[in-house]
Amino acid sequence: MDKAIYFDYAATTPTSKEVLEEMIPFFTQNFGNPSSVYSIAGKNKEAILKAREQVATAINAKDDEIFFTSGGTEADNWAIKGIAESYESKGKHIITSKIEHHAVLHTCEYLEKKGFQVTYLEVDEYGRISLQDLENAIREDTILISIMFANNEIGTIQSIKEIGRIAKEKGVIFHTDAVQALGSVHIDVKDMNIDLLSMSAHKLYGPKGVGALYIKKGVKIKAYIHGGAQEKRRRAGTENVPGIVGFGKAIELAYANREENTKKIIALRDKVVKGILENVPYSRLNGHPTERLPNNANISFDFIEGESLLIMLDMKGVCASSGSACTSGSLDPSHVLMAIGLPHETAHGSLRITLGDKNTEEDVDYLLEILPQIVQRLRDMSPLYEDFMKMNQ
C-alpha cells in the first residue's frame, strides 16, 4: 500500500521539524547535566528555564508553577495522588467523571483501595457533566475535583471556567487533565481558576516522554519522585533536556498559530462529519456538536464492529482508531461511549478520526470515498444487520 493517510492525531503526532531542530543540539553538543557547575551545563539550565517560560506563557501561569514530568500520565498520577496525600487530614473525598482518561480513573480506583471515596459524575448524551451534579456532589470532606478539559475519544470540551468557579467558591482544589485540549484550545489557568493542569508534548507536535504539571502557587503537593533537587525537589531525576526544550518550542508554536490552524482543521473535520453522516445510513456523531475539539470526529456505525473496520481502513492505507473492545484488549467497549449512553453494539462500532497538520481536502475525499463501501461490506457480513433488515422489510 503506497498510500498512508494518518487520521489518528489524538493518539500522537509526529514531532515537527522546527521542534526537532531545537532539540538536536541537546543530545550531542549541549549534553551536560543541568545540575553540574561548569559552564556547558549552565546552558542547559537556561534552556530549561526558557522552556518553562514557554509552557507557562501558553497557559497564563507563572514560570515557577510549571513542573516537567515524563508525560500526561505521570502528571495525572502526581496531581491526584499528591493532593490526596497532602490533604487527607482535611478529607478523603474526590470528585471526577466517568469519562476521564484511565490515567485519572485508575489512579482514583487505586486511591479507593487506600480508603478514599470517589464520586464519578455521570455525563449527558454529549459527554458533558452537569454543574448542578458537581455542586451537589461537593461535601465537607471533598478535597479534589478532577475533570478533564476535553475528552480524548469524543472530543467534548467541558465548561472548565464554570467548574473552576464552583471549585473556588467551595474551597476545593481543581485539577484538569488538559492533555488532549492543549495546543488547540485557549487555556488560561488564572481566568479559569485551575489549580493543577496536566500536559503532554507529543499531542502537539512535540516529542514523546515529556509533559508537565502546572501547580498553582500555594497548593500543597507532596514530592512525586524522590532522589534529587530537580523541579524544586518535587520531581527528582536528571531533566529530559532535549524533551523539555522540544516541549517548550512545540507549545509556543501551537499557540502562536492556534487560530489559523484550528480554522483549517475545523473545516476539514466538519467535512468529515457531514460527509459520513450523509453517505452512511445508521451512523451518528458522538460527542458535543459544537463544544468539541477542532480535530475530533467520532462516529458510530450500527451493526458493525470497530476493529474490523479499522483493519479494512488500514488495508486501504488509512490510520484511525475505535472505541471497540477489540482494540483495547478487553471485552468491554470504551467507557466513554458507554457513559454517553450508547448501547453496547453501537459503542463497539465506533470510529475516531482525528485530524492534524498534514491532512488535506484530498485525504478527506479519499476517506469519504472508501468508507461507505467498507461499512456496507461489513454490514453484509453482520447477523445484526440481517436481523434489522428482515424486521424492516
Partner: protein, 145 residues
Amino acid sequence: MYTEKVMDHFMNPRNMGEIENASGTGTVGNAKCGDIMRIFLDVEDNIIKDVKFKTFGCGAAVATSSMATELVKGKSIEEALQVTNRSVMEALDGLPKAKVHCSLLAEEAIHAALWDYAQKHNIEIEGLEPPKEDVHDHDHDDDEE
C-alpha cells in the same frame, strides 16, 4: 498482530452469507462483548453439504468463522463435532491471546447449528451438548494489578 492466514480469511471470507431454509442455524455470542456469530447448515444424509456464516465482530471473529466453515464443509456430523476451537486456531496459524475467545465462539456456533438441526429433525447427536448461554465466560482477561 494477525497471521497472514487470519488476514486472508478476514479480507476474503469463505462461505459468507446465508442459507434459505437451512436445516440448522445457530447464533452465539452477544453484542455486549462485541461479537456474534451465526452459522447456517445444509445437512443431507448426515453430511454437511453446505455451510454459511454471518459474523458481527473483530478481524479474528470473522476469520475464525470463515475457517470453521471451511473445516466442516463436506464432513459428516461426527467429523464436524471434532472441529474444536484449537483446530480452528491451528488452521489459522494461531491467534493473539486476547482473541482466543473468538475461536471458542466459532466452535460454539457450529455446535449450536448442529443442535438446532438435531432438534428440528428430532434426532440425537452423540456427544453434542446444548448451546451455552454465554461462551464469553471462559476468557475474561483483566489487566488490572
